[in-house]
């Protein structure tokens, strides 16, 4: 088990490094801070002087190593070109809103996916199962942001039940959370269903039934516990999807989180902030994957012995 965790940990660090490298070079190619930070009437000599001061005249690799050094040791991504404060501070201010949204969506997804998936598996090819399959099919073809806009039009504008933008109260959370949840709900529902179907055919379920356990106990204690293993892995992996979906959802609902900050920063060319967000996002995704793998290995010995 320990070797497995260490191996996965090293892999994760490698992934983080590569991602930091890609994000650094992407933006290195893209932007010349001298042009962004200096007034347009700056002389050529001023620009050269500025570049020297900022260390921008050094070779790219040295600049990258310097960037990495600052980020890893001090969490210093530089200052935002626009807001003139530390990029990490900006990210920190916006992070809670995104986490709130993502957690709400994740809870919602599992509240729906688990019971519906289980029922669909037990009553296979029933009306319920077919409806769930149909909903999953439609859900996968639905552009997330369009779904959000339709929710706004129906529940915000026509029915006036819910607020359509901002984040002041719990009511503000409802539509964005539903939108974001719809992004990953189809996959999870199918996963619970297929996991349950797999398990329900196993001998130990027959044994459990044969020894006279009541059906609910068989389903929850014996079947679902085993069917949940792939779900754990997938939820970990979905962190990345969820954050990606948050970028879109936050833009649609004017939700003041990291995703909207990312879109705004990319549009305005505020690269230190973009870099900070990419690295923070990647960090979350990698940690999520790592935790999911370790958790799955803890639950299921077959994985760690592979």
């Amino acid at each position: 088990m320990r070797t497995y965790i260490i191996k996965r940990l090293l892999q994760s660090i490698g992934v983080c490094l590569v991602i930091s490298m890609i994000s650094f070079f992407l933006l290195f190619l893209n932007t010349d801070p001298a042009l962004v930070l200096l007034p347009p009437e700056a002389e050529v000599t001023d620009i050269a002087q500025f570049k020297k001061q900022m260390g921008l005249d050094r070779p790219v690799t040295i600049q990258y190593l310097d960037f990495l050094h600052r980020v890893v040791l001090y969490g210093d991504f530089g200052n935002s070109f626009v807001a003139k404060v530390s990029a990490l501070q900006l990210v920190g201010e916006r992070l809670p809103a995104t986490v709130k949204l993502a957690v709400a969506a994740l809870i919602l997804v599992n509240l729906v996916a688990i019971p519906v998936g289980i029922i669909a598996a037990i009553r296979r090819y029933s009306l319920m199962d077919n409806l769930a399959t149909l909903a999953a099919l439609l859900g996968q073809a639905m552009p997330l942001y369009w779904f959000g806009i339709m929710l706004i039009i129906i529940f915000g504008i026509w029915l006036r039940w819910l607020p359509i933008s901002g984040s002041d109260s719990l009511a503000h959370l409802i539509l964005p959370a539903i939108t974001l949840a719809s992004w990953i709900l189809p996959v999870n529902m199918r996963l619970v269903r297929s996991g349950m179907l797999d398990v329900l055919n196993q001998d130990y379920i027959r044994t459990a039934r044969a020894k006279g356990l009541n059906e609910r106990k068989v389903l929850i204690k014996h079947a679902f516990k085993n069917a949940a293993i792939p779900l754990v892995t997938v939820v970990g992996m979905q962190l990345g999807l969820l954050l990606g979906g948050a970028v879109v959802t936050e833009t649609v609902f004017a939700w003041p989180g990291l995703g909207r900050l990312a879109v705004d920063s990319i549009r305005m060319g505020d690269y230190p902030v973009v870099q900070a967000i990419v690295v923070v996002f990647a960090f979350f995704v990698v940690i999520g994957n790592l935790l999911a793998d370790v958790l799955a290995a803890l639950i299921d010995p077959r994985i760690r012995l592979e």
Binding site: L29, A141, P143, W146, I149
Partner: protein
């Protein structure tokens, strides 16, 4: 993830026989519907100059924000109404099919070439080659996809061609994963061993012996990826990083329509429906193709 997906896909194997056949026919029927939707989409894209009642770029400010024909004040001249510049929404949606199809198909082909190539190498050579490629795939999977695509477009500049490149550059790992696993399985089979012992060149084994066996899975995956690329293109356009106005892209139209959703809901609703229907049609066809090529199903 791919194992899980495979698991989901092979779940139908143990179904009772009668309902399995029913399910199969049902699936195929859905596949036919999907195929028809795609055919309609293709025809629209090819013949939209003939079908469209108006020039999609023609502005008419005095005629702006007209509602669709069935609403009060709507008229037959503008079936789905007009947008904020008085352009005919219906014509613009018809023309939008071109953008979506071109982006979807080219991006899928490009990512398939990249992904399948790398997957073949990783699966065939194994060892170090496999480790390096797999590590790279893992990195790509760890990268927050939308952010990567957004930054890439920001670097390259938002043009049709760059959107396609961006989508391909960010989505190829799916193909690599599938191809790699399948190639590994095939590598051990007798006919590949025979080809190897005949001292065929590697490229010949890869292209003539392994690749043809992978085509069904690649085709299925490619179909699904077309739908994904269409949705992602519209998403990038929606965020203002995709196809630039005034070119009629469904995503860009949706983004413009969003500013008017308080009163003119149709400006956001219809372009979105176009994306939704296209993606649904392609997914249905993809599902049916998968069922047909899936050996588990074929046997039963």
């Amino acid at each position: 993830m791919s194992e899980l997906v495979e698991k989901i896909e092979s779940e139908e194997v143990s179904a009772p026989k009668g309902s399995l056949i029913f399910r199969k026919i049902w699936h195929l029927r859905l596949g036919v519907i999907g195929g028809l939707v795609i055919l309609a989409l293709l025809l629209t894209a090819i013949f939209c100059p003939l079908l469209a009642p108006h020039d999609p770029y023609a502005q008419n400010i005095s005629n702006r924000l007209k509602p669709p024909v069935w609403m009060e004040k709507g008229d037959w001249k503008h079936l789905l109404g007009t947008d904020h510049l008085g352009r005919d929404l219906f014509s613009r949606i018809l023309y939008g099919s071109r953008i979506s199809l071109v982006v979807g198909i080219s991006a899928a082909i490009l990512m398939a070439i990249m992904g399948v190539g790398l997957g073949l190498f990783a699966g065939y050579y194994g060892g170090q080659v496999d480790s390096v490629i797999s590590f790279f795939v893992n990195c790509m999977m760890g990268f927050p996809f939308i952010l990567l695509a957004m930054s890439l477009v920001a670097v390259l500049g938002p043009s049709l061609q760059n959107i396609i490149i961006t989508l391909a550059l960010t989505s190829w790992p799916v193909f690599t994963r599938v191809t790699r696993v399948e190639t590994m399985k095939l590598r051990e089979r007798e006919f590949i061993l025979a080809a190897t012992s005949l001292a065929y060149e590697t490229w010949r084994i890869l292209l003539h012996h392994i690749l043809p066996n992978l085509l069904p899975s690649i085709l299925v995956l490619g179909t699904v990826e077309i739908a994904r690329a269409i949705i992602l293109e519209s998403l990038l356009s929606f965020l203002g990083l995709g196809i630039q106005p005034p070119i009629p892209s469904w995503g860009a139209m949706l983004a413009e329509g969003r500013n008017y959703m308080l009163m003119q809901w149709w400006l956001a609703a219809f372009p979105g429906s176009a994306i939704f229907l296209s993606a649904l049609g392609i997914n249905l066809l993809g599902d049916a193709l998968r069922d047909m090529t899936d050996p588990h199903l074929r046997k039963s």
